[in-house]
């Protein structure tokens, strides 16, 4: 009976070259990354909505003015489907058909892309710890976030914590929501989040930088609804 040589697994540690953490990016980059982790960006949706809204507003206003005879009563009396336009389209039928099909395809693609992008769930990047060799160690996004949340929950004055990783895999960031108690010192809590939680997360995950967006909420345990 021969040895199953193919099943041999070699476990060795490269002690000579420990995985050095990545260098820390400049402060401006960190600031931008931490700000963009505050919430999912709605800039694209807002921009497109405003653009379409303004187009509709301008078109509607111009047609209404035309209809009320602001541009002359002769023009207002022409049929909506102007015979001159219909005739021009008829003489150039192939061109106008191709243009119409191209417009249709463009509208379809733009609409589907917009819908897909706004429906796509936010990315939760997994962390790759030791890449490059034959083995790759991946810490799942949820596991890393849970570890950070547990650590942050130990800070005095913090009642509840929710943590999640956001952003692209090459530049992950942390979104941390802290429900602080009534008597908590916000400045102290923030210092501890930076000094204890984020520092240990960076060290244990081997990250040069882990920008974080911290959201402060009040713990509702002793809430009074007397504030309008």
């Amino acid at each position: 009976m021969s040895e199953p040589a193919a099943n041999t697994v070699e476990l060795s540690k490269q002690t000579s070259t420990p995985a050095a953490p990545e260098p820390e990016p400049p402060a401006g980059v960190l600031r931008r990354r931490s700000r963009s982790a505050v919430a999912r960006s709605a800039a694209r949706d807002r921009g497109i909505a405003v653009l379409i809204g303004l187009l509709l507003l301008v078109t509607g206003t111009l047609v209404a003015l035309l209809s009320f005879g602001v541009f002359g009563s002769m023009r207002a009396g022409r049929p909506v489907l102007d015979p001159v336009v219909v005739e021009a389209l008829g003489t150039q039928s192939t061109v106008s058909r191709i243009v119409a099909i191209a417009v249709g395809i463009l509208l379809t693609l733009l609409g589907l892309t917009w819908a897909a992008r706004s429906l796509r769930p936010e990315r939760r990047p997994d962390l790759v710890l030791a890449a490059g060799g034959a083995t790759e160690i991946v810490v799942s996004s949820a596991a890393a976030a849970d570890a950070v949340a547990t650590e942050a929950g130990r800070i005095p004055g913090v009642g509840r914590v929710r943590a999640r990783l956001v952003g692209p895999e090459r530049a992950p960031a942390l979104r941390l929501t802290l429900w602080i108690t009534d008597d908590a010192d916000v400045q102290d809590v923030l210092r501890r989040v930076d000094g204890q939680v984020l520092a240990s997360a960076r060290a244990s995950l081997g990250l040069g930088a882990l920008p974080a967006a911290v959201r402060i909420e009040l713990d509702t345990a002793a809430s009074a609804s007397r504030v309008a």
Binding site: A27, R33, G53, P79
Partner: protein, 179 residues
């Protein structure tokens, strides 16, 4: 507004895509079947007949145009107003961005104001630019209560590392009746 935009955005995208697909289908169908009397999915020959008879000055044209303009205005407003009203706090390091909501700031301020003995109740509204405190004092409280409350709120805003200090306005109303 943000939630409305989150719902509207995919719906508008799908509506655009549907309009594009219908346009392509109808143009290709009309091209391939030049003798056809009716459209494949959209009764566009009927529409064409109606629009031949309509002039720009007719009532339906103006009504539809005004409707379109109003919808466009609402859509643009939704897009413009769907911004976050976060209150930004100073963080100890650039790698951290700290925010909170106006509601939380209002609750913190309200709690501090109610700690004063002379204050019976208080309501607070907060935005990134402005904090409005309306305190109701017990009967017999002196006129200096207003400045006391203001000092308290100012102290609190100094303690909280707010990035931008909101303006504070305090008004005190005397509560009728015994304490």
């Amino acid at each position: 507004m943000r939630y409305l935009l989150r719902v509207l955005a995919p719906l508008l995208g799908l509506a655009l895509a549907a309009a594009g697909i219908l346009l392509v289908i109808e143009v290709v169908a009309a091209w391939l079947r030049p003798t056809a009397e009716a459209g494949l999915t959209v009764p566009w020959p009927d529409w064409q007949a109606t629009m031949d008879e309509l002039t720009w000055a007719d009532f339906p044209v103006a009504a539809v145009a005004i409707g379109v303009a109003v919808v466009g205005l609402l859509l643009a407003l939704v897009g413009l107003l769907a911004r976050r009203s976060d209150i930004v706090l100073d963080s100890p390091t650039p790698a951290m961005a700290v925010t909170t909501s106006p509601r939380v700031l209002a609750r913190i301020v309200g709690r501090r104001v109610r700690e004063t003995d002379e204050v019976a109740s208080a309501s607070v509204t907060a935005s990134p630019r402005r904090i409005v405190v309306t305190a109701r004092s017990w009967a017999g409280a002196g006129p200096e209560l207003r400045s006391t409350v203001r000092e308290q709120v100012d102290d609190l805003l100094t303690e909280l590392p707010l990035h931008r200090r909101p303006r504070v306005s305090v008004s005190v109303q005397e509560r009728k009746g015994p304490r």
